[in-house]
Symmetry: C4
Subunit: 277 residues, 4 copies
């Protein structure tokens, strides 16, 4: 019985260190993990540079081993310390954590397949969990909320953008043909997206006068309608900010007047003292 | 007489399925149509890719036949089921529907002319009608209204943009001449639009120091004045949102007037005291 | 005496036609002038296209004669019909009008110098005067006012942009050297402006890793700080719109309450009838 | 004793001229300094143009000597005239001032090293100090404040942008491989930043259909999410503007409290009745 309780206690303490960030140990754990994640992503990037890989192949190999070992231990600890391991294993971060270690094992045994490479870059997603310690998560939530509220409007906008690109792309394919590189409709639509979003790579560019005229109209359209998502999001931010601007939620105990300024001590309607909050 | 009524009944039911989306049958019809439209547009796109066309020419031919047949039947049903067929035939969507089938017949009999290709892409416009079923149409209306309200300001802005491009384009033609590819004024104006809208293909670029200086001024101008349409549209969205901000939802108990200011104690329309909320 | 009065009368009528747009004759004059200006600018553009010039040299020559003659007559009439000709001649539009005719005469006598070409494009500026007839001038004034109010903020912003470009440009010149085309500092600054404003021609592009890293920082900076002019102008538009939103300036004759809704007939504070405005 | 006082007086007068801009002498000093800074930066730029350097090497040499001498004298005077020279020497502007002269001396004695070149461009930073004379500093402060307030939100946004670029960059490296120039992950991430920020150099561009599809999604994302920083900053500007919008300028006759709501009849601070305006 006592053994049980000690074991549970040990698990609870481990859970606090790994999943929470309130204790000093929890903070140190999170920061250490953050550093290891960033190092591992940097290694994945550097490994892809041929010159570096040729020179430091052995070092990359051993560094990968060490990081995979750390992540494996962490993954096992996470499963042990939580009450319902299944809930963790099949959660978004559980899968990301698994994908952070599995590809390395596979590549050790099967030889480094290219696709496994990409999956290792997903380790960067783990950064998001660690960042829960930071005060930025509140800001991030407010950003997400504003974006969520304007989702419907933004989808309508993006749909209109796609329609414009499909129709203009077909037109450009007919007008320019092979000469400017508009050799098929999907490629022309790709060019329209490049142009409307004002990216403009220049690998494909119209050469006929009519094609250039249509391109001009498309560019000015793209330049003008960028105002639409901006207007939507800005208005959403304003709404969120303006909801309770400067005034608080207290009611006057005498006349029940609302919307008092934050610094108000007396009701502006009847002159009676407001309750201290 | 009875036969007549049954026929009218049959027409009314058909009308409900085809033109409305309130009944289950109507919804299924709309979704099926949406899928066929998207497939037909995808086919038009894929047909334009030479490699695919060479390999699957027969398949494209038969798919086009089937889709054209479906659209033809649908077009005939639309004409039959409506009370005033002329109003439909000459409406925007009536013409789009006709253009969705006609080019196929023409190309079957005349050989696939290129222009007919483009017209078939207009089928995508039909998507807009089907989308009336979605809740996004309300959002889309509000977007359109905000754009309509700011139309005059945006036209003035676009006109200023065109003037800037014409004058700078002429200047660039004189300064750069043939060297940078600024071989005539319309081309230079095209380049100015590419630059001012921050697209920047790079197929034409200034090479003289003075030309580059003017290009810099033009780019900074373009970068700065994008604020103008954005400001216009955002302010329009804010107005739409703020229209009923300082007013509440209470109705006057005497004259039923709405939109009273939050601090109003008497109705601004008839002068009677408002109920305390 | 009578002769004098008739002459003055004739001048006044002419003045009304040329300078005002209230009478039918004035409107017709303005629209005709607008058409001629647009044609003349179109001709200047087409003349610069070598293929067109080679083929239609004679037609261009005569069209230019006719337009110059019309503009000359108009210019003389403008001087005759106004009371203080000097005020007109040295005004902005007076100089633009003179520059619309003079270059043609000079090129007839001296041979078509290139610079004269450009000056003829200034004819487009005349369009602005004619547009006074349109309702868009009001919108244009409000746009200009919003821009004027935010002038100081925008200048500070542009100054910061220039400083960033000069310092980053010097850095890029040192890092990239000749390889990427960053052969001197002014050119590197030009590239920085191209990049910061998100134009991105691609005629010059960094090739060293460090140069690409600095370019990335510069691009993200440019992408982020475009929010600043937009924020400035939008907030200015909001201020202009919000100044008298929905409420009018009438005071209640009894309790002197202000900020009544536009449709209010009774004071919302004391319930007494408001004066009709 | 008297000698001391005169010396202190002389120092105080010098301090006023150099550090303040209230007296005519101070203004003249600041404007002269501004002109010299701009000339010196222009010289640094022109020196980097090979053609100019070859032709005017001697002139550049002497101009550099003169400017360095002036800056040296100014630097010494700044140290002499201030009470606590250490505070100045180790301040931001103190270091910038030192870096404006030191590199020239080093290059005179050691031969013109390239890095010294760059440091001389930092002279431009001195412009900011001189600009304290202008009224723009107020605007600049308000801009900085709005940016500071939205710092947390903007950092979250930029962090999200970097994550998107890292993951998309890894994907593009795998999909495109060497063909389109996506030869390693850091380079692919660089390309993603170029694309997401809508710069689009075009030196690297996807060539496979899947790569182009992902590029399209990335571009539309970049085009859409530019609304986020804009919304943040605009809403911040609005807040700054709106802080005192619903409040009026009346002072409480008893406690002199300000910022009363427009509809307030009693002071919210002391509860006494406000004067009717």
């Amino acid at each position: 019985m006592k053994h049980q309780s000690i074991k549970r206690d040990w698990k609870a303490r481990l859970h606090e260190v790994i999943y929470e960030a309130d204790t000093p140990a929890g903070k140190i754990f999170d920061i250490a993990l953050l550093v290891i994640i960033l190092i591992s992503v940097a290694l994945v990037m550097m490994e892809s540079v041929t010159e570096l890989y040729v020179q430091y192949a052995t070092e990359f190999y051993w560094a990968e081993w060490v990081i995979t070992a750390i992540f494996t231990v962490e993954y096992i600890l996470r499963i042990i310390s939580i009450r319902r391991p299944k809930a963790y294993i099949f959660s978004f971060y559980g899968i990301v954590d698994l994908l952070s270690t599995l590809p390395s094992y596979l590549s050790f045994f099967m030889g480094g397949a290219n696709l496994l490479f990409a999956i290792r870059a997903l380790r960067l997603l783990r950064v998001f969990r660690v960042l829960k310690i930071s005060r930025y998560i509140g800001e991030s939530n407010r950003l997400m909320e504003a974006l969520r509220n304007s989702r419907a409007k933004i989808l309508v906008f993006l749909f209109a953008v796609v329609i414009i690109c499909v129709i203009t792309g077909t037109l450009m394919h007919l007008i320019e043909g092979e000469t400017g590189g508009f050799s098929n409709i999907p490629l022309s639509i790709y060019w329209c997206i490049v142009t409307l979003t004002t990216v403009g790579f220049g690998d494909i560019a119209p050469v006929t006068p009519l094609g250039r005229f249509i391109a001009s109209v498309l560019m000015i359209t793209g330049y003008g309608i960028i105002a639409v998502p901006t207007g939507i999001v800005t208005s959403e931010f304003n709404k969120a900010d303006g909801a309770h601007k400067n005034t608080n939620t207290q009611h006057c105990p005498v006349c029940n007047e609302q919307d008092h300024l934050n610094e108000a001590e007396f009701c502006h309607n009847c002159g009676n003292r407001l309750n201290a909050e």
